[in-house]
């Protein structure tokens, strides 16, 4: 039996009926057409599917859409304001924090929660906060620099 849900995604309220086994990531990608959130491993390991659930970074491949009824979700599509990139997005661009870009949306959402809680993280704190996100291209070095860039810009 389908269940009715009301979810606010990037500030827009959506009311939909969903099959209980529909995963949040598929709800975002296939129902709402928000394909910025990626599916890497589908086994809660890689973090490519990271979104914010009521402000907290979570892996949307391991959550049912039905569970987020009444919640607020933020995806990578919700970060830019009036066509201007969020400092994290700008940081990944400026510091070459991506190569293929597959991991990037998840990296940015995980880094978003970090900077929200700790506006001035050390390098070790950045690496620790991104432990749930795999990148198979960059070697992480420039990702750390990208987050540092954003922290600096947000604190300016």
């Amino acid at each position: 039996m389908e269940v009715p849900i009301k979810v606010t995604v990037n500030g827009v309220l959506y009311e939909r009926e969903v099959e209980p086994r529909l995963l949040l990531v598929n709800f975002l990608r296939d129902v709402l057409d928000l394909t910025g959130t990626h599916v890497g491993c589908d086994t809660s390991s890689c973090g490519a599917c990271t979104v914010l659930l009521n402000g907290k970074a979570v892996k949307s491949c391991t959550i049912f859409a039905a569970q987020v009824d009444g919640a607020e979700i933020t995806t990578i599509e919700g970060l830019a304001r009036n066509g201007e990139l969020h400092p994290l997005q700008e940081g990944f661009w400026q510091e070459h924090g991506l190569q293929c870009g597959f991991c990037t949306p998840g990296m940015i959402m995980a880094a978003y929660q970090l900077l929200d809680e700790n506006p001035n993280p050390s390098e070790a704190e950045i690496r620790h906060a991104l432990e749930g996100n795999y990148c198979r291209c960059t070697g992480y070095h420039n990702i750390v620099k990208s987050v540092q860039y954003a922290a600096k810009k947000l604190n300016a």
Binding site: P20, V58, K59, T62, A66
Partner: protein, 287 residues
């Protein structure tokens, strides 16, 4: 990967969750953080006809202090335990264990009740719960009962919980002025679960240890208290030599059902138990 179809129910109180469990008798699963259940449902190792979501029950994720007890609601996420100033102050080893579970995303969803009920042999909380002699409070249609941590972990993925019971809360004695506690683990480099995790809770009179609780996870089929190490600490002045000597007693009980896999052999796990016992004791004592 999608799980087999099921019906979703959201419980708004523990009573409602218990009613639903009774109604679907054996064909329902509680869903808390979902970070153990959903992966097994995707693999179709679990195919419940009904899923009862208990994550949004008001008051189920509360951390409170009552006299010399710290009471943690069964639905409290790992991240809330890790970041709680009250837990950091009054049960350091528990805060340490919560902080090293998986990664930030896992800690935002996973709950202590779910972790204990799942009883994964490499999970972090079991060692801390044993080192505190915590009391696990289970509710069912019949009422409430309290299960001492020492009786809770029965076997691999098996606990003393009965069908139809929900972990309502876990009660920990607070670390008083004389207590030093810590949890330290060697994480598996890929999964981040504990290859070996050690929780210690020492009662000190100056430099002399008057009581000791040392518990391991990851080493055997269930977490266990290591009386060999405990007995070797009690009554001793804890200098470097005494700590080292006590740590060497770790995982020497032949009755343990040791875990062994392609990553860590039994011998390696025993070795790590000694190393982590020493490190956890030193961390607890601030050395």
């Amino acid at each position: 990967m999608f799980p087999a179809p099921f019906e979703y129910h959201r419980a708004n109180s523990l009573e409602e969750a218990l009613e639903l469990l009774a109604r679907f008798e054996g064909d329902a699963k509680l869903l808390a953080g979902g970070h153990s259940l959903i992966p097994t449902m995707k693999l179709r190792l679990n195919t419940p006809a009904h899923v009862i979501d208990i994550r949004n029950i008001p008051g189920f994720a509360e951390i409170r202090r009552s006299g010399d007890q710290l009471i943690i609601g069964g639905g409290t996420p790992h991240a809330a335990i890790e970041k709680s100033a009250e837990v950091q102050r009054s049960a350091s080893a528990l805060a340490h264990a919560a902080a090293v579970i998986g990664d930030p995303q896992v800690r935002n969803m996973g709950t202590i009740g779910g972790s204990l009920a799942h009883a994964e042999p490499a999970a972090d909380y079991p060692a801390a719960v044993l080192a505190y002699d915590a009391q696990i409070v289970a509710v069912s249609a019949e009422g409430e009962r309290t299960i001492p941590a020492g009786e809770f972990f029965v076997d691999l993925f098996t606990t003393a919980l009965e069908e139809g019971e929900i972990i309502k809360e876990i009660r920990f004695p607070v670390d008083g002025d004389t207590v030093r506690s810590a949890y330290l683990k060697f994480p598996h480099p890929a999964s981040r679960f504990a290859v070996v995790g050690c929780a210690v809770r020492l009662t000190m009179d100056g430099n002399t240890c008057t009581d000791a609780r040392v518990a391991f996870t990851g080493v055997a089929a269930t977490a266990f208290r290591d009386e060999g190490v405990e007995q070797d600490l009690i009554g001793k002045t804890l200098d470097d030599a005494a700590i080292k000597a006590a740590a060497q007693q770790a995982a020497e009980n032949d009755e343990l059902e040791f875990m062994e896999d392609h990553f860590a052999s039994e011998a390696y796990r025993k070795h790590l138990a000694k190393v982590y016992a020493e490190r956890a004791i030193c961390t607890a004592l601030g050395r």
